[in-house]
């Protein structure tokens, strides 16, 4: 089974702190994604990556950055956390080929609270 693991299920941070959310997948997927989930807004794409060291902005990249130094790991960074970044963050991965082509596999989510 594909496994997407997010480093923290729950985090509480203070305004201005730097926050790292890490995501690791074990299926050698090319594509990795970071979404933000808020009630009534669905899932909004922050950043995605389709190869090592490659990154593309999604719909709401402001205030975030990402890093993909290895194929299996995709990190989301909040340089200076703000209260409006309090949210559920979902990591996902997908392959561009094979039986599960295109299907997104999700991690369990990281619920971030910024005080």
């Amino acid at each position: 089974d594909v496994k997407v693991t997010q480093s923290s299920r729950y985090l509480v941070k203070r305004t201005g702190e730097k926050v790292f959310l890490e995501c690791v997948q074990d299926m050698d997927h090319e594509n990795m994604f970071w979404y933000r989930q808020d009630p009534g807004l669905g899932l909004r794409l922050i950043y995605f990556s389709y190869d090592v060291k490659m990154k593309e902005k999604g719909d709401i990249p402001e205030g975030y950055s990402v890093s993909r130094e290895k194929k299996e790991r995709f990190s989301l960074i909040l340089e200076s956390a703000s209260t409006n970044q309090t949210s559920m963050y979902l990591c996902a991965s997908s392959s561009t080929s094979g039986r599960f082509h295109g299907e997104l596999f999700f991690g369990e989510g990281s619920r971030l609270t910024v005080l």
Partner: protein, 115 residues
């Protein structure tokens, strides 16, 4: 631009009954995929069913089936013989075959199965 619309924020159904969740989308592309994802309370998002746009036959997965109307850009999910474990948030999603298989999600429908 690609958009996905789920017009039913909340729905409920009696156990063992049938329920249909609506989804419409907008795109100018001809090759794409459609998905329904399920997110149970405090649990991981998982795939329910997928449909390739080039296939005319509606996809089915056990108690789950879709009504795909390409011309109308409609993609509804039918759940037959509803079970308590079907209680979840359901997201309709559209995937392009370009730009790293980027997904677009609807805002979700919260389904409650009543015993």
């Amino acid at each position: 631009a690609q958009t996905v619309t789920q017009s039913q924020p909340e729905m409920s159904v009696q156990e063992a009954e049938t329920v249909t969740l609506s989804c419409t989308y907008d795109t100018s592309e001809n090759n794409y995929y459609l998905f329904w994802y399920k997110q149970p309370p405090s649990r991981q998002m998982i795939l329910v069913i997928r449909q390739e746009a080039y296939k005319q036959q509606n996809a089915t997965e056990n108690r789950f089936s879709v009504n795909f109307q390409k011309a109308a850009k409609s993609f509804s999910l039918k759940i037959s013989d509803s079970q308590l474990g079907d209680t979840a948030m359901y997201f309709c999603a559209f995937m392009t075959t370009y730009s790293g298989n980027q997904f677009y999600f609807g805002t979700g429908t919260s389904l409650t199965v009543i015993p």
